[in-house]
């Protein structure tokens, strides 16, 4: 579904990604783990067009997308829940969700909105409330719900567990599994390596801009190197 080959992304003179190649197959959950500053977010941003890679290719469903604008990429079916949630804090929950469906003009937006609110009942209760008044967990749910509103085939999630209490982290990852079961392919980037590997069909380890390991999620969980570096021994 998504094929990335030899991706190099720079911020000015600093190279954030170096020759990154990954694959995501239809229906998978693929996790990318790595420490702070490894380039995880940059990878997602390069896919969704928020930064332009300097070289390399990003192919989505057989066509090259790295030259397209981010709005075109959303239209192709890639939804991105960016780092730090980035919900629109001065807008209502409803408006946030409407913006998620910004690229769509079909008649099923309301149906999808209902579906998102079934998945996140807390959002329905707070529909008219300013998104900035939501708790951290609710904001994360809104960020995911908003990304789902574009009806993505591939959902990019950037650190969905960031800043959340452990029980909420469990809930968020359960929801990610649910979303995947309904047919959405998921590419998730996480510092919480244990959780991310647990749900992943396959996973990559990113270190200072380079892919250093890749395997199934289960295999990486027991990999001694990963254990030492990311799972606390």
């Amino acid at each position: 579904m998504l094929t990335i080959r030899g991706l190099n992304t720079f911020y000015g003179a600093i190279q954030a990604l170096e020759d990154v190649s990954i694959d995501v197959e239809q229906g998978e959950i693929v996790s990318i783990i790595g420490s702070n500053g490894a380039g995880k977010s940059t990878l997602l941003r390069s896919i969704s067009g928020l930064v332009k890679p300097r070289s390399g290719t990003v192919d989505f469903e057989g066509s090259t997308i790295q030259e397209l604008g981010s709005d075109q990429i959303v239209r192709r079916g890639i939804g991105h829940s960016p780092e730090g949630r980035r919900i629109f804090t001065n807008m209502s929950v409803l408006e946030n969700l409407q913006l998620g469906a910004f690229t769509r003009s079909d008649g099923e937006i309301q149906k999808d909105m209902d579906h998102v609110m079934e998945r996140f009942p807390r959002l329905r209760e707070r529909l008219k409330q300013n998104a900035g008044t939501l708790s951290g967990g609710e904001q994360q749910m809104l960020a995911i719900g908003r990304a789902l509103m574009s009806r993505p085939k591939l959902l990019l999630l950037d650190e969905p567990s960031m800043g959340l209490a452990p029980n909420l982290v469990t809930e968020i990852f359960r929801i990610i599994l649910d979303i995947n079961k309904e047919g959405v392919t998921v590419l998730v980037v996480e510092q919480n390596a244990f959780r991310a590997l647990e749900i992943a069909h396959r996973a990559y380890v990113l270190e200072t801009g380079k892919i250093v390991l890749s395997d199934t999620g289960q295999a990486l969980l027991t990999n001694p190197k990963v254990k030492e570096a990311y799972l606390g021994g």
Binding site: S48, G49, L50, G69, S70, D71, I73, V74, R75, H80, S81, P82, R86, I87, F88, T89, N90, M91, E95, Q98, L99, G100, F102, T103, E125, Q129, T133, L134, S135, R146, A147, S150
Partner: protein, 396 residues
């Protein structure tokens, strides 16, 4: 919005324009007609800058430049091509408005495009510079009158067109906000990265805001040129830009209602103060002291007195009444001081001081602007007169 409301507001708008035209042109002295005309133009300018600054969040402070482009373009064209035969003057004026709007939109595009990568202060500097470039260009072009006036523009004065433009401008901005597109403008103001992640074409939104906003300013300029028949570069100096910006900020960035209200107040206040009769030094000192007291107490109330609406309003009113009484007492007391009682200040001298003081006080007490980011709606009026319903608790 359903059809009857649409038709109703259209009729109301038409009636308003017709009314203002027949009432003002029929019975008011010329200088008052002019004030009403200029007030309408300032409404257009404030609302259109609000689209760029408030709604889309692009800090542009050179709005007078677009006003100037429209005025000079339409004025110049009109001087050389005005041909009254076979065309009612208002139709000509509408054509000139369109010309001015197109010219200013083009200028907006020119500023908007390179400014896309700039944010906040940097964009402000670019727009400020652009404004100065336009002004200096005009000042050095003999064809346009140079630093003297561009003179002998055909006189076509139409209050209904001016206020019609104001209403169209308000309607366009308000309807824009109601659509998904409008939401994307607000989204760009909130967070550009998140907006692009949602598939909003941030570039397009910013350019559209600039083009639309400057287009309205240009149309206003065309109307001004034909009203005044003579315009100079000083008509569009930097302080005009700042006044427009002040209107937007004071009204509450992003609120159309606020922009309209602030435009009217800020435009009329200095004109009104011109007519205030001379006051004695003792009154001036007394008023100053009581205003300072009122503001100091108010500020404390705003910051620390978190009670239900009703109690707060009572506290505010008490403050105002209290400081008014203080003012009266002080006035009587100071009358005893001969040097103060003899001194006299005319309203004309004080008006700009009062104007500036009003701005400072408002910003102290309500930094988010009069309307913050809210809009006027009948719902809101209804709620004001109803008992506050228990609101569902918000969690943090």
């Amino acid at each position: 919005m359903n059809l009857p409301i649409r038709l109703g507001s259209f009729l109301a708008a038409a009636l308003f324009c017709w009314g203002i035209q027949t009432w003002a042109m029929g019975s008011l002295p010329f200088n008052l007609q002019r004030l009403i005309a200029l007030a309408g133009l300032y409404v257009v300018l404030a609302v259109s800058l609000n689209l760029i600054n408030g709604i889309t969040g692009q800090f542009s402070i050179g709005h007078a430049a677009f006003y100037q482009v429209g005025a000079y373009l339409a004025g110049y064209f009109s001087i050389h091509n005005f041909n009254p035969q076979g065309m009612p003057p208002w139709l000509w004026l509408i054509l000139m408005m369109i010309l001015g709007a197109l010219g200013a939109s083009l200028a907006g595009l020119v500023v908007g495009l390179p400014s896309l990568r700039l944010r906040g202060d940097y964009l402000a500097i670019v727009t400020l510079g652009f404004g100065e470039i336009i002004r200096i260009f005009v000042q050095n072009t003999k064809e346009l009158g140079g630093s003297y006036a561009l003179d002998k523009i055909p006189k076509i004065q139409s209050l209904w067109l001016i206020w019609g433009l104001a209403i169209v401008c308000i309607a366009v901005c308000r309807n824009l906000l109601k659509t998904a597109h409008g939401l994307s403008f607000l989204a760009v103001r909130e967070d550009e990265v998140a907006s692009s992640a949602m598939g909003v074409n941030v570039t397009k939104v910013k350019v559209m805001a600039f083009v639309l906003g400057s287009g309205f300013a240009g149309a206003a300029g065309a109307l001004l040129a034909h009203w005044e028949t003579s315009i100079t570069p000083q008509t569009f100096s930097m302080d005009v830009s700042f006044i427009i910006l002040t209107m937007v900020v004071l009204g509450g960035t992003g609120s159309i209602t606020g922009s309209v209200l602030a435009a009217l107040v800020l435009f009329y206040l200095p004109e009104y103060l011109r007519n205030v009769s001379a006051i004695s030094g003792s009154t001036l000192v007394a008023v100053t002291l009581s205003v300072i007291t009122a503001v100091a107490v108010m500020k404390r109330l705003v910051d620390h007195y978190h009670r239900p609406m009703k109690q707060r309003v009572i506290a505010y009113l008490a403050t105002i009444v209290g400081s008014a009484i203080l003012g009266v007492v002080l006035n009587i007391a100071f009358r005893g001081v001969e040097s103060l009682a003899k001194a006299s200040f005319t309203g004309d001298k004080l008006r700009l001081v009062i104007f500036a003081t009003t701005l400072i006080i408002l910003m102290l007490l309500r930094p988010q602007g009069i309307f913050a980011h809210h809009e006027f709606s009948w719902d809101w009026v209804r709620r004001l007169f109803r008992r506050p319903a228990p609101t569902p608790g918000a969690t943090s």
